[in-house]
């Protein structure tokens, strides 16, 4: 039995690629390869998605390329390129721990539980969970979902909160957004819950955006951060410096406007409160 366990452990380690014998820091790796590899989404507009011109773009990607990349380049003293790989809620932590990517830049909520496995950058976006419902539906927010069928994203914090706060709601968890929306459109579920910004993106893409409304106060606090391997404070510091400089110089707000402004992919105006929060994250030089 002991031997079996040892074997399985070895297998798990090998599969995870989790323990390179001669560890190289992320910064050393970037310096050696000249590449920063990020994990991002292909179907989460406007954070990371493939647009109509078939380009892989988005808010999170722009932040990496225009805020973080310059900071790293300054440090290593040469230009680097950004390589993108697809990540999903289920794969993002394994992608990091297996060294397949160096940075997760998508729609990942910073949580204390996740901080036990990975480190997070500053918060680069703030949202909270709400509900997308048909405009005729009676659901008005978390207070009116008891007994209702609610779709949620598998592996999201929203499902977890709902399960704890409204145990009578019938949760249906889908691995991807299109399936969840299909279930909503066909009436399999009464509402789809996700971060407000995700719902805004989904609504904007829907065939008849006017049929759908986003309802309810934020019932969760979802600060999005960029995730990286634990205990790499040099690298994390650079990521944060890049973000802080972008906020300070106004670059962050330009990028925000590009994606979330009235003409952006998903209109989602920056509230005064959130703008102040972003600025206050910037510590003095």
């Amino acid at each position: 039995m002991k031997r079996l366990l040892a074997l399985l452990l070895t297998l798990a380690v090998a599969l995870g690629g989790a323990a390179p014998a001669f560890a190289e820091t992320t910064l050393e790796k970037i310096e050696r390869t000249g590449t920063l590899t990020i994990g991002t989404r292909t179907g989460s507009p406007p954070f990371g998605f493939v647009n109509k011109q078939n380009e892989w773009v988005g808010f999170s990607i722009d932040l990496v390329e225009q805020a973080i990349k310059p900071a790293i380049e300054r440090k290593v003293g040469k230009s680097i390129k950004v390589e993108k790989k697809e990540s999903t809620p289920a794969t993002r932590i394994p992608l990091l721990t297996s060294n397949a990517v160096d940075l997760i830049a998508e729609t990942m909520t910073d949580t204390r539980a996740r901080r036990e496995s990975v480190d997070f950058s500053l918060t680069f976006f703030v949202t909270g969970a709400q509900f997308l419902v048909n405009k005729r539906a009676p659901i008005k927010g978390i207070e009116s979902i008891a007994g209702k069928r609610i779709a949620a994203q598998q592996g999201s914090t929203n499902a977890r909160i709902l399960r704890e706060r409204v145990p009578t709601a019938q949760l249906r968890e889908f691995p991807d957004q299109p399936a969840a929306f299909q279930a909503l459109a066909q009436g399999q579920v009464d509402a789809y819950t996700n971060d407000g910004i995700q719902l805004a993106g989904l609504k904007a893409k829907a065939p008849n955006p006017g049929d759908w409304v986003i309802v309810g106060d934020f019932y969760s606090y979802e600060p999005y951060g960029m995730a990286m391997r634990k205990n790499e404070s040099d690298f994390r510091h650079l990521v944060n410096v890049g973000l802080m400089e972008a906020i300070e110089a106004g670059k962050y707000f330009e990028i925000y406007e590009k994606w979330f402004g009235p003409k952006g992919e998903v209109p989602y105006p920056l509230t005064a409160e959130n703008k102040r929060f972003m600025i206050m994250q910037v510590v003095p030089k």
Partner: protein, 239 residues
């Protein structure tokens, strides 16, 4: 950096009960789907060998149609495609009573029924034609010949490939998580979400699948020996 294992996440908090729920759902959906697959497989596999061409063609159509479309597509078909065809009240009842489970069960059962069909057919075709003639000659109808002679022999012959197919069905039941069935793989992901411990959760799931598959294979081997036909299949440990 070295990954630090923390196996306690598997029994702390709700993880244990989630794994158990997931295991039960996996067993439940697989068992029901297996019954459906066995029934459809035996029926269509037998029909593919009967002396009436229209029935043979219908069975062949079922097999080719269902086994050549990916299981994932069938999951979506039964979950998203079929309910709109039902009356509103039935739909609503279904949606409140595990529509995803039934859709997943049908998708698995019908898909694997088509694959099982091929196993049964090859079993039947390995039986000499003269067995069928002998059945006819003593006055059995075609239905009786299949029920009393052909299928009892064929089913004993196909235990090994059928076991294989059954294990595939069990493993494929994890595809049902795409339509929100909270089975074993779903729950291991859930644990991962809550604890951010991917490798531990994955290892637990893998181990459970492994134990399930090995036990099923062992039971089938015993059944095979127990019901072996003397002279047709070597009975291990006997004359």
């Amino acid at each position: 950096m070295r990954y630090e294992f923390n196996w306690s996440v598997l029994w702390s908090g709700q993880s244990g009960s989630w794994l158990l729920q997931g295991l039960l759902t996996t067993l439940e959906i697989s068992a029901l789907a297996w019954l459906l697959a066995a029934a459809l497989g035996i029926l269509s596999g037998a029909l593919r060998t009967v002396p009436w061409p229209p029935l043979r063609a219908a069975a062949a159509f079922y097999v080719e149609f269902f086994r050549n479309v990916p299981l994932l597509v069938w999951m979506f078909f039964w979950y998203f495609g079929v309910p709109p065809l039902l009356p509103g009240a039935v739909q609503d009842w279904l949606f409140n009573h595990g529509a995803e489970f039934w859709a997943g069960m049908f998708a698995l059962g019908v898909y694997h029924g088509a694959r099982m069909s091929e196993v049964i057919r090859s079993g039947i075709q390995s039986i000499p034609r003269t067995q069928f003639e002998a059945s006819q000659a003593i006055g059995l109808s075609v239905w009786q010949a299949y029920r009393l002679v052909i299928l009892p022999i064929a089913i004993r012959l196909i235990v090994p490939p059928a076991t294989n197919e059954s294990l595939n069905l069990l493993k494929n039941s994890s595809v049902a998580l795409t339509i929100s069935v909270a089975e074993l793989t779903f729950q291991t992901r859930q644990i991962e979400t809550y604890t951010a411990r991917a490798i531990e959760a994955l290892t637990a799931g893998t181990l459970i699948y492994l134990v399930l598959c090995v036990s099923i294979a062992a039971v089938m081997t015993r059944l095979e020996r127990r019901f072996a036909i003397p002279g047709l299949i070597a009975r291990v440990g006997a004359g």
